[in-house]
Amino acid sequence: MTTPEPTAVERVERPVEPLPAEESVPARTFEVKNLSIWYGEKRAIEGVTMDIASKAVTAIIGPSGCGKSTFLRALNRMHELVPKTRLEGTVLLQGEDLYSSNVDPAIVRRRVGMVFQKSNPFPTMSIGENVVIGLKLNGVRDRRFLNERLEKSLRMAALWDEVKDDLHKPGTSLSGGQQQRLCIARALAVEPEVVLMDEPCSALDPIATAKIEELIYELKSKYTIVTVTHNMQQAGRISDYTAFFYLGRLIEFGETTKIFTHPSERQTEDYITGRFG
């Protein structure tokens, strides 16, 4: 005989018990342990511990200045480009310490690509050159291989049909939404394991935003995606997991459906419902 499900009252009155270990833990791309980051004297991230699931979309939300972008950049050592940064804790990518002394940051950034808030195609390069520049910088010269990768990347970025006849035109001749997809194609061309996105749609109109969102949904079958967004509805639409940051700390992290219907923390509830202030 099976034990009946406890009623809501029983659950309310019963002390909270730790959850049993899940039988099928999703595969993890990143394991972040006790991560703290300083810019000079200012601590931007404080003791963040979280695992990022593979081939899923994780959204990072939180008010301005909460450390979202710093956290995102720490996942491919991009934050090191800011002078006087200091980091404590560990970030493991597929079990390998990203900050180990023998790890080349350039290799990290190839494995973990990034797309920024404002699309930034190289202004002097054509559409085609923009896509394959990463491969060329890595020494790839085989024209046939480059052409194949060019088409594959543009197709994955859902841009091929729109630009296939204009590959020689400047990347900056494209619309804002197309430029952002061009940047995604550029990030995909080097075949990264992870794509980081820092507010990728914040400068786009609703149609271009919808195309990027659709693209993110399709890309997650092949890549682990971590995205920072200020748009709650977008986080709800595109992500599988959501992390809420506040004042440099990770307040709550869990499945997006749970976070947006019944968050566990009052601070999360106040932020996502617009009571924060």
Partner: protein, 228 residues
């Protein structure tokens, strides 16, 4: 970070307006039920007529609440507790409208009964009436106070109302066999009993929605699943 009001004042106002309309609709529904039952017990045709007339206002409120709910979903895209409250309010209004429909049916049956000599068996309905109305009031209370415990209690009370209805129906069927001159009267009382039983069902729905709004927990159909 202590903040209980939304930064967006218009969102706060819209949520408050929706809640106020739900409370007003609950108040009118309660009044309709009480008037219908008084019309039955006191043989008062005026109260029955008022109940039937008030139904239109309650119907309009249901439409108003649905419109306001959709408007909030469209304009503010609420999440978390706000989303649950809006969804629960819209479902609540549907159940309130159906309770008001039951009040109208009771009022119509009462008017028919009032055309004939009084039936002492009307007393059989009183325990059902008390039980159903307490369920209804407590379910609305559970919604207003976001009281999960009370909501769950109300859900558990529905079985007793079903039993009471069964008992009353059995007794009235017996009387029908004994006194065939009052067949129509007894039949009307059976229908009144069924209406009260339906009020209990709607109160159960409201209580379940109240629990969902307060605790994000879906407790619907748990009794049925346990029985199966």
């Amino acid at each position: 970070m202590i903040a209980h009001r939304h930064i967006l004042g218009t969102f706060e106002e819209s949520l408050a307006a929706l809640r106020n309309n739900v409370l007003m609709m609950a108040g009118l529904t309660d009044r309709s039920m009480e008037r219908a039952m008084k019309g039955l017990f006191n043989r008062d045709d005026n109260l029955c007529a008022n109940t039937i007339a008030d139904d239109e206002e309650i119907d309009q409120l249901e439409k108003q609440i649905d419109k306001e709910g959709v408007d909030i979903l469209l304009r503010f895209q609420p999440v978390a507790s706000d989303l649950r409250r809006v969804v629960a309010a819209m479902k609540l209004s549907t159940n309130l409208e159906r309770i008001a429909d039951q009040a109208t049916t009771i009022a119509r049956r009462a008017r028919k009964l009032n055309q004939h000599p009084p039936l002492p068996e009307v007393e059989l309905i009183k325990p059902m009436h008390e039980h159903a109305m307490l369920m209804f009031k407590d379910s609305v209370d559970a919604f207003v106070r976001e009281d999960v415990k009370l909501g769950c209690e109300v859900v558990g009370r529905d079985e007793k109302l079903d039993d009471l209805n069964q008992t009353v129906s059995n007794k009235l069927v017996e009387r029908m066999a004994q006194n065939q001159d009052q067949l129509r009267g007894y039949l009307n009382l059976i229908f009144v009993g069924r209406c009260l039983e339906r009020v209990g069902d709607h109160a159960t729905n409201i209580a379940e929605d109240a629990v969902y709004a307060a605790a994000a927990e879906d407790i619907r159909h748990q009794h049925a699943a346990a029985r199966a």
